[in-house]
């Protein structure tokens, strides 16, 4: 228990990247094995973490807190119910992504592996940081490798796509940096000492206008990452151009950073601003759900279809966050994992098709189901998971989101439920055109079904999908304590602020016992 | 010989150097104009430091001169180089210095 488990998980991939530097780039096999070994080691450690994680404890666990640069900048890591599964998801997907790159990346294999490992460190770090500055460092650190992954290994319009991706996200995160400094200064003024600890900062009661501006600054950064309508247009471009592995991690993990930011920072730190902006956020989320669905309906490229479906799905997650009660938050967290798995798998699958045919246009396919029956079955499972078929993971998250949203606001929920129809329409429409129908195309006629290595990628994901779908309780029970405290704390903070609108520090955060939908009835 | 006079002379020389730099059209003379401006600065140093009882200004002047010498060596080499490539040292012919 003295081993710094969180630091190990975070920096093992980075260590792997450093080891890779010393392996000559011609030795693909050794590079590959080394990279996988480090990623798998991180995953194994994350499993240890999950097993030893105490689901009854609401606060952060495995905390590591050391002074770092002064002025409140600490190296502060910790994990709680909100971040647990996001870390696991990242550590779980990273080895699979590396596995998938074995054949799909021909040139500059070493760099690819390097960037992937650095990316993993950045992403895990974001979820584990409890210090705003550290959070920001990892946030940006995750951006850079992604820039190279798309910019170097991407498709034809990769330069355009990366520029857009980077400028978009940079624009957001710059504002966030300003926000961080403002928070630091305000805290110093109120308490006389510096701190950037998220929990310390959430004890501040800020004036309304400060909250508004700070929430907008942070919210923009997060909204772009999610991506919330109308900040979504970087996503289809980035996805279409990105190599398979980058697409998978982009959709499965990077987008979650935005929603995670709202849950971890946006809502707890600025409860009153949230009260004012939550309806607006919800409206944008609902628009995103419906809009993303309709856009997905008319895409011609499989990848951009899945990208727009992400806009729609993440809209639901954000709507659940905006509803902010125990049920909706549990749903949002579960749905983030689900989306990571199903969309990740869809991108893997599109990668399989692309690797074989070098096209992603829906119209170039047809009858693939006859040529690749096993693949078709697995793809269908991913589709069904994505459209929320009960028994698979998507439903468990979706129903909780719906229920939580419903408890907060019925109209939002009614509009959100349209995703049930839209998701089926665009996903099955695509499935029909790609897998069904006669084989009309030479490229399709020459297809071979997937083999062992690809099965090794798909099977774990599928098993996890069924596990979450059938026994979501095993996952939900570890997050419940944290989530219900979060839900209650913010509610009580709002109540407290109503009494006095004067900037100050709250001594101790005392969650009221009643959590969940109690107050909405 | 007041300080004002010395500084005044230095100002006049500096401005003349500036004007020369802008008015002249060949690199070589412009180079010379730069040297004049440097000397004007040296003069100001010495004039203002007189009576302070310290020799630091003279050391600075010495450094300025050495740097000017080095600069002249490299600069003139560049002028030669440009001349070989363009067969001209008129500044109007040299417009590559842009993005």
């Amino acid at each position: 228990m003295n081993a710094p488990l969180l630091s190990l998980i975070t920096f093992l991939p980075l260590a792997g990247a450093i080891v890779l530097i010393f392996i000559p780039k011609e030795e693909r096999r050794r590079l590959f094995i080394a990279a996988i070994a480090f990623a798998v080691a991180a995953f194994v450690l994350s499993l240890v973490l999950a097993v030893r994680f105490d689901g009854n404890e609401a606060g952060p666990q495995f905390v590591e807190n050391r002074p770092w640069l002064g002025y409140g900048i600490h190296y502060h890591l910790g994990i709680d119910g909100i971040s647990l599964y996001l870390v696991l998801l990242t550590a779980f997907l990273a080895p699979l992504v590396l596995l998938a790159s074995r054949t799909s990346i021909r040139d500059r294999f070493k760099e690819y592996l390097l960037f992937m490992l650095i990316l993993e460190t950045g992403m895990i770090g974001v979820f584990l940081s409890l210090n705003l500055f550290l959070f920001y460092v990892f946030w940006e650190a995750a951006l850079i490798p992604m820039y190279f992954l798309i910019g170097i290994f991407g498709g034809k319009r990769r330069v355009y796509a990366t520029t857009k991706f980077v400028l978009y996200t940079m624009a957001g995160s710059l504002l966030m940096l300003v926000g961080i400094f403002v928070l630091q200064g305000t805290y110093a003024r109120l308490s006389g000492s510096y701190s950037l600890d998220i929990f310390d900062l959430s004890r501040m009661v800020l004036s309304n206008s400060t909250q508004t501006w700070l929430f907008l600054a942070f919210g923009l950064a997060f909204a772009i990452k999610v991506p919330l309508f109308p900040f979504h247009t970087w996503l289809p471009d980035a996805h279409v151009e990105a190599p398979t592995g980058a697409s998978v991690l982009l959709a499965a993990v990077l987008l979650k950073m935005g929603a995670y930011g709202f849950i971890r920072i946006g809502f707890p730190l600025f409860p009153d601003a949230v009260k004012r902006f939550a309806p607006g956020l919800a409206v944008l989320a609902v628009i995103g759900i419906v809009y993303g669905g309709f856009m997905a309906l008319v895409q011609k490229d499989v990848k951009s279809l899945v990208a727009y479906s992400s806009v729609s799905h993440m809209g639901l997650v954000l709507l659940a966050v905006a509803a902010w009660n125990t049920i909706s938050l549990q749903g949002a967290i579960l749905q983030m994992i689900n989306h990571g798995l199903s969309t990740g798998m869809l991108f893997f699958a599109v990668g399989v098709l692309y690797e074989r045919t070098h096209t992603r246009m829906i119209s170039d396919f047809g009858g693939v189901g006859r040529k690749m029956p096993v693949f078709a079955a697995l793809f269908l499972a991913a589709v069904l998971s994505s459209l929320g078929l009960p028994g698979l993971n998507g439903f468990a998250g979706e129903i909780l989101c719906f229920a939580g949203i419903f408890a907060a606001h019925k109209i939002w929920a009614v509009l959100a439920v349209t995703t049930v129809i839209l998701a089926a329409a665009y996903l099955l429409g695509m499935y029909r055109k790609v897998f069904h129908g006669p084989v009309t195309n030479d490229r399709v006629a020459a297809l071979r079904d997937i083999g062992g290595r690809e099965l090794l990628i798909f099977i774990p994901i599928i098993l996890l999908m069924f596990w979450i779908g059938l026994f979501p309780g095993t996952f939900l029970k570890k997050t419940e304590a944290t989530v219900s405290r979060y839900a209650a704390t913010v509610q009580s903070r709002r109540a407290e602020h109503v009494r006095t609108n004067r900037p100050r520090l709250v001594s101790e955060v005392t969650p009221e016992l009643e959590a969940g939908t109690g107050e909405t009835r | 010989m007041t300080t004002v006079a010395v500084v005044g002379l230095s100002i006049v020389l500096f401005v003349l150097g500036t004007i020369a730099f802008i008015v002249k059209r060949d690199l070589l003379t412009q180079f010379m104009a730069v040297e004049i401006m440097l000397n004007a600065a040296n003069l100001a140093f010495l004039g203002l430091a007189r009576g302070s009882g310290r020799l630091d200004a003279q050391v600075i002047v010495f450094f300025v001169m050495t740097v000017a010498a080095a600069e002249a060596a490299v600069g003139l080499a560049i002028v030669l180089h440009i001349y070989r490539r363009k067969k001209s040292i008129k500044t109007e012919d040299l417009d590559r210095l842009r993005g």
Binding site: K164, T233, R370, G391, G437, G516, T517, G518 | I22, L97
Partner: protein
């Protein structure tokens, strides 16, 4: 663990094995495995049924068993729990019994298919999902089965997925069902917020205690009925069912006639306290049911595809069931569900036998005179037709009559009369089918004729069993005129389903009604005889005289086209336009524009860079002058 928990076990294991290894196993093993799992489920069902009868004697009619807590967060909770009561018992017996017969039939029917394992895997999975649906103890868990059967339906309709029409039909079925499911989901959510629970037991208590506001109850009941309308193919969501006939015929028999499509009826019956609590919702159900019954019947009149006739007939019969439930005669609705499962699967399987014999021909115009070629199929087909037409003392007669009697007894004259009209239509189109297929000239090509053969025993034996059941099933639910306690069926269901309306209908009126419905059947059959045997020129003449109406019915009132024109196309085109104009044209252009503006600004600033040293020097000098000026003045 009580025995009913084991009912769904065998099918799901069978499905799992077949999905994983179906491609490597020999056909005999596959058929044996698939049939034996269903047989096991049937045995368990019978055992559970007998067990229920014995416990019912001691007053324990409703058995529940919780497997585990499925989804739970905050106040939301859904258990994976089973509930076995008389209603579930009836459904379980139908699903496993008819399912077993159809599995056996499929062994013969599908014997030459390539993806044999996939077929049976889906069929087993379907049985499992249907059993879950029937046995679920709460609405959320029921939704698992609800969607599961939808998925299997999708997979099986699109079984021949290389055929574009089959693939499209599968997709359409799933999508239309999803529209219903969205309603269903919202219904669940409304009920949950109103009552704080989704379990049937607690819901019943909540309704009985009037915990739920009437308006909310009506709203959720209507929303749930939208789900039912999707699954059970009622107006306006019936459009997927005719297309679903693209699937293999046994699938049409099992899923699209006997079991899955009745799930909506089952659900309404299951939630009968709610629908009784909300008269408005019940009225809507009754109206939609009655309308659908007649509407689908009119379309069935002129269809030429043997399976499409049966499909519209199914829609129409489902309408009857909803009619029954809507007027409060849940037992009668379920009774019709029960008998319909036998006779409609009989008809479908018999039609399958005909199709099989004619090497895949489904068009009635290219049949005729098959009576002598199919000596075993013809009689059972005839039995099926007689039963559905409502010939007295056959099961269809009793069940349909029970519904109509309840409707009139409740004073629902309008829907009752619609029901009677539907009865005439039913008799007519069924006998039209019989006459066109089995009587008259042989209109099939010679080549087909040379291949005509009666189906193997593995197919005809299940038909015989179903025919027998279709005839006798009615005697479990004799009408009240034969004695108050004659209706075993509704007495059995009483613990869960309230008894039908107390007859304020006099005995005489009831007799009159029975005679009337018998007369309706007779009229329908007679008309069909007139048109298609006595004077075969008549249909052609009528079609020539009323071409518009004929075409209107033939195309199913153009509903597919109308939906396409007013819903699907505008949405898709609109989405495309929005994508081009708004997403790319405005949002993305704004983003790009920002980037480009920065670029232009840079270029404009770059103009200052002339490349002439002199200009730079001037700029420096200028700066110096300004700087000094500012500093000094």
């Amino acid at each position: 663990m009580p025995v009913f928990v084991f009912i769904p076990l065998a099918p799901v294991l069978g499905a799992l094995v077949l999905f994983l290894f179906g491609r490597r196993l020999p056909r005999r093993t596959i058929s044996a495995l698939a049939c034996s799992t269903i047989a096991a489920a049937f045995v368990f069902s019978v055992a559970a049924f007998i067990n229920l009868l014995s416990t019912a004697a001691s007053g324990q009619n409703i058995l529940t068993y919780k497997l585990f807590t499925w989804i739970s967060a905050g106040a939301f909770r859904a258990d994976a729990a089973f509930r076995f009561d008389p209603l579930a018992a009836v459904m379980v017996l139908v699903v496993t019994g008819v399912g077993l017969l159809i599995h056996v039939y499929s062994v013969g029917y599908m014997s030459r298919e390539r993806d044999y394992g996939r077929y049976f895997a889906c069929l087993n999975l379907f049985t499992f999902a249907m059993l879950l649906l029937v046995l679920a103890d709460n609405l959320v868990f029921m939704f698992v089965g609800w969607e599961g059967v939808g998925l299997c339906s999708y997979l099986l309709i699109g079984y021949w997925f290389e055929k574009p029409s089959a693939a499209d039909a599968g997709k359409k079925a799933f999508l239309v069902n999803r529209i219903g499911d969205a309603g269903f989901l919202l219904g669940i959510l409304f009920l949950w917020t109103a009552a704080g629970t989704t379990s049937f037991f607690s819901l019943e208590i909540a309704v009985a205690g009037s915990v739920i506001a009437p308006s909310l109850a009506t709203l959720s009941a209507v929303l749930l009925f939208i789900g039912a309308a999707g699954k059970s193919a009622q107006i306006p969501l019936y459009i997927w069912l005719p297309d679903a006939m693209e699937g293999p015929t046994p699938v049409s028999a099992l899923i699209h006639a006997a079991t899955m499509v009745t799930a909506g009826v089952y659900m309404v019956a299951r939630l009968n306290p709610l629908y009784s609590f909300s008269p408005a919702a019940g009225q809507i159900v009754a109206f939609v049911g009655a309308l659908t019954a007649v509407y689908a019947g009119t379309i069935a009149l002129v269809q030429n595809d043997i399976k499409r006739v049966l499909a519209y007939s199914t829609i129409s019969q489902l309408g009857y069931m909803f009619l029954g439930c809507g007027v409060g005669a849940y037992a009668a609705g379920v009774f019709h569900l029960f008998t319909h499962a036998f006779f409609k699967s009989l008809l479908f399987l018999a039609a399958g036998s005909v199709i099989h014999a004619l090497s895949g021909e489904q068009d009635l115009r290219r049949m005729g005179g098959l009576k002598k070629y199919l000596p075993r199929t013809y009689p059972v087909f005839l039995v099926g037709a007689l039963v559905i037409a409502g010939v007295p003392f056959l099961s269809g007669f009793f069940s349909k009559d029970a519904i109509l009697v309840s409707a009139f007894a409740r004073g629902q004259w309008f829907v009752g009369i619609l029901g009677l009209a539907g009865a005439v239509l039913t008799a007519f189109y069924m006998f039209r089918l019989i006459f066109l297929a089995f009587f008259g000239n042989e209109r099939f090509p010679a080549e087909v004729k040379s291949h005509i053969h009666e189906s193997p025993a593995v197919m005809t034996r299940p038909l015989a069993v179903l025919a027998f059941l279709s005839i006798v099933a009615g005697f479990t639910g004799l009408p009240a005129v034969l004695g108050k306690r004659a209706n075993l069926f509704s007495r059995f269901l009483e613990p869960v389903v309230r008894p039908a309306a107390e007859g304020n209908l006099s005995l005489g009126a009831e007799w009159t009604l029975i005679l009337a419905s018998a007369a309706c059947a007779a009229v329908g059959i007679w008309l069909a005889y007139l048109f298609y045997v006595r004077n075969t020129a008549l249909p052609g003449r009528w079609a020539a005289r009323l071409p518009r109406i004929y075409r209107l019915l033939g195309r199913g009132y153009y509903v597919d086209e109308i939906y396409g024109a007013i819903v699907v196309n505008p949405l898709v085109r609109g989405a495309d336009a929005v994508y081009r104009r708004f997403d790319l044209g405005i949002i993305d252009a704004a983003v790009d524009g920002t980037g480009r503006a920065a670029g232009y600004f840079g270029k404009a600033a770059g103009l200052v860079q002339t490349g002439w040293i002199k200009d730079y020097a001037l700029a420096v000098l200028f700066g110096l002058v300004i700087f000094l000026g500012v500093l000094l003045f």
